[in-house]
Symmetry: C2
Subunit: 181 residues, 2 copies
DNA sequence: CCACCTCCTTGCCATTTCCGCAAGAGCCCT
DNA sequence: AGGGCTCTTGCGGAAATGGCAAGGAGGTGG
């Protein structure tokens, strides 16, 4: 993010209004020299200075920052729970949740769980055991499955290695491809 | 504007994401102690610090400021031109422009001008002379007029006193009350 | 050409703020 | 008790701050 032009933008907003340095400085309750240096980029742009100025100019702080495509990269922390490592691959507020989940191999089936939602998963590596109600499945690398999570289900890795799984699910009980977009 | 809670908001956004101080500080390339003090309000909130943080958190700088009803007061400088004093009474980006204009009395009619737009005016005090194409009018206190500014027109004060006029106009050639809102 | 005005910039410098480091406080879990 | 995790804070050299006042730059009028 380029902050070097903040002062210039500030100045151009001031000029648009035909305000002098002294006038804006007085309205924003700071000395003209401070404002001059701020506009010239010779002072740090702190909120203490910027907020009164943007208020007087009728603009938002964001208006002083360069337009920027929102960063599309997902930057969330992995979540560790019951030995699983879940790496979120979608935004927190996204309608569909995507995770890469690493299941450690365990010898006994965990308890089956039930909740609203629909899940799709793909086995990247390892062998995955899926209990879905009374039915039992084993999925190898490259295999995929989808199921309604309102059915009691349990998922874990079998064998020696952990299983890496790409998991996509949503919160309500509908199939994902029928969701309104 | 209350800036004292900026740090608290920052912290709550971080907590929403279950990020530790060290994690966010590393992502935003600052030391944990700096971030700690910033969140505690013991450091000035400069853009240098805030912008990387808000980028990492996926929020805007404005999200750290208290919601505030936009100040409805118009705060613009008067414009002086040809001896006229124009006090803007509406925002710069408003669809309709409103001014209180003080016309100094002059003895000769200024040149008639033509431009796109529609104008409505009201005489607050003084006597106003209006030339509109071939037609000549004099307006006293309390009188109003409206005309298409594509017609050649000239406005000035006559008599000894300046005339104060409330003037409302828009930029295009339509009547104001027919504008789409 | 000089005086004057307005607008803005900048050197000065006492004072404040910054900020990384490392110690340690508080908390939870075993 | 001990260890791990998270966060806070004292310290001190370094950097930034900001009001004042001098002065530069540009325009206008005598």
């Amino acid at each position: 993010m380029d902050l070097s032009r903040v002062g210039q933008r500030l100045r151009s907003y001031r000029h648009e209004r035909n305000w002098t340095l002294d006038e804006l400085a007085a309205r924003a309750q700071m000395s003209p020299s401070t404002l001059s240096r701020l506009e010239a980029g010779k002072r740090q742009a702190s909120l203490e200075l910027l907020v009164p100025l943007t208020r007087q100019l009728g603009i938002r702080v964001e208006d002083l920052l360069p337009d920027e495509q929102a960063d599309p990269r997902i930057r969330r922390s992995e979540i560790r729970r019951h030995g699983q490592v879940m790496v979120p691959l979608s935004a927190e507020n996204a309608p569909i949740h995507t995770y890469k989940i690493t299941y450690p191999p365990i010898s006994e089936a965990p308890e089956q769980k039930t909740h609203d939602g629909y899940e799709w998963l793909f086995v990247i590596s390892g062998r995955l055991r899926l209990h879905l109600g009374d039915q039992h499945f084993t999925l190898g690398r490259g295999e995929a499955a989808e199921f309604d999570t309102r059915t009691p289900h349990a998922v874990w890795a079998v064998g020696k290695r952990a299983a890496q799984v790409l998991s996509i699910f949503n919160d309500d009980g509908e199939r994902m491809h029928t969701r309104a977009v």
